[in-house]
């Protein structure tokens, strides 16, 4: 049992018993993953924040139904995914990630870290530009593939966890990841192509 699972085994039952502090710990550990996932799925940052709130409130209300504490991350993403689908049905949610907003939303931790390493201004600009480009490319990837890509590469979920979250077979997730990666690669073009002599 790894550290994350051990923590979940400890925190989930405490939160289930009504311990708000334990639930806050769960929130702190998973909020960025959920917000990033939602940010990749809906149009506005404000809506993503609102859905993040709803995801955790719904999780709090439904914790009694979560049998396996280790399944908390996939269960949480499942809730978030259902909320996105509800929003889509209502016609309010539509993906339109504005890359500069995504960059602007960051707390600045990454930028501070980069400055601490003392890079040149060009390097900082390139890093920011590349991140924006990645988000713009994500925007054009089909929704199911985009969801799988974000959960796997950005949130660090396993194929099995994603399959649980999306209620599909692991093979379907693998396929979505492969197709999504191929789409992303095309969209990123020269950003992912090795320069001469780097192979």
């Amino acid at each position: 049992m790894n550290e994350d699972t051990r923590k979940l085994e400890e925190l989930v039952p405490q939160a289930r018993a009504g311990d708000v502090d334990a639930f806050e710990s769960l929130y702190r550990r998973h909020q960025a993953g959920i917000y990033t996932f939602l940010r990749s799925q809906v149009r506005e940052a404000e809506l993503a924040a609102d859905l993040t709130q709803q995801t955790f409130v719904r999780a709090w209300e439904s914790l009694a139904r979560l049998r396996d504490p280790g399944a908390f991350p996939s269960w949480l993403h499942r809730i978030a995914l259902n909320l996105v689908r509800d929003e889509a049905k209502s016609g309010r949610a539509r993906l339109e990630v504005v890359a500069t907003d995504v960059e602007g939303e960051r707390t600045g931790a990454a930028a501070r870290e980069a400055v601490a390493r003392n890079p040149g201004p060009e390097q900082l600009v390139l890093s920011s530009e590349l991140r924006d480009r990645v988000w713009q490319a994500l925007e054009s990837v089909p929704a199911e593939q985009r969801a799988a890509l974000v959960m796997h590469h950005m949130t660090g979920m396993s194929v099995t966890e994603i399959a649980e979250a999306m209620k599909v077979r692991p093979g379907t997730v693998m396929s979505r990841l492969a197709r999504g990666r191929a789409a992303l690669r095309k969209l990123l073009g020269s950003y992912v192509e090795a320069q001469d002599g780097q192979m």
């Binding site: 009504g18 708000v20 639930f23 806050e24 929130y27 702190r28 909020q31 960025a32 993953g33 959920i34 917000y35 990033t36 940010r39 940052a45 924040a49 993040t52 709130q53 955790f56 409130v57 709090w60 209300e61 995504v102 939303e105 960051r106 707390t107 990454a110 590349l130 991140r131 990645v134 988000w135 994500l138 890509l149 974000v150 590469h153 950005m154 949130t155 093979g171 693998m174 396929s175 990841l177 492969a178 197709r179 990666r181 191929a182 992303l184 690669r185 990123l188 950003y191 992912v192 192509e193 090795a194 192979m199």
Partner: protein, 160 residues
């Protein structure tokens, strides 16, 4: 050797690790000899790396405050509802009690309720027994001498 077109179609699955068996061996054999397909494989891997390097975006700091407020409100809501129900119940009981007191205070004064039938029967029997005894004694016992004399004198006086 597999053609580049086939390999590049299979590459995303190969990179994800979902290509197996003979297909996997065929792709690997091709990649050993084809720089262009290797470059494509590297580009696919880099696309995944860039996603990972982009990292996650923290939710706005206000979100936890909103969550906490909502779950606290929802936690206390049943208690408040319970108190309200209790209060409504108490008011209803008080209203009924007040109504009963008013009804009792303004009620018309009535004779006491008759005693239970069994007691009534007992009294009647006792009364009847006393009455019968008295009548019987009057019937069978001659009047006292003085009374009888008085009555006779009165009769004689009327005759005279």
């Amino acid at each position: 050797m597999a053609k580049c077109e086939w390999v590049q179609t299979a590459l995303p699955d190969y990179v994800e690790g979902s290509l197996r068996g003979r297909a996997k061996a065929r792709a690997e054999a091709h990649l050993r000899h084809c720089a262009a397909c290797r470059a494509e494989m590297v580009a696919l891997e880099r696309a995944g790396e860039l996603l990972k390097e982009s990292g996650v975006i923290p939710a706005p700091s206000r979100v936890w405050g909103s969550i906490q407020a909502e779950i606290t409100r929802k936690e206390t809501a049943p208690a408040i509802r319970g108190l309200r129900a209790l209060w409504r119940g108490a008011v209803a009981v008080a209203a009924v009690a007040a109504m009963l007191i008013v009804v009792w205070a303004v009620r018309p004064h009535q004779a006491p309720l008759p005693a239970p039938a069994v007691q009534q029967v007992a009294i009647d029997e006792e009364f009847q027994s006393t009455l019968e005894g008295h009548l019987s004694s009057v019937w069978v016992t001659p009047l006292a001498d003085e009374a009888a004399l008085g009555l006779q004198m009165a009769a004689l006086g009327e005759e005279g």
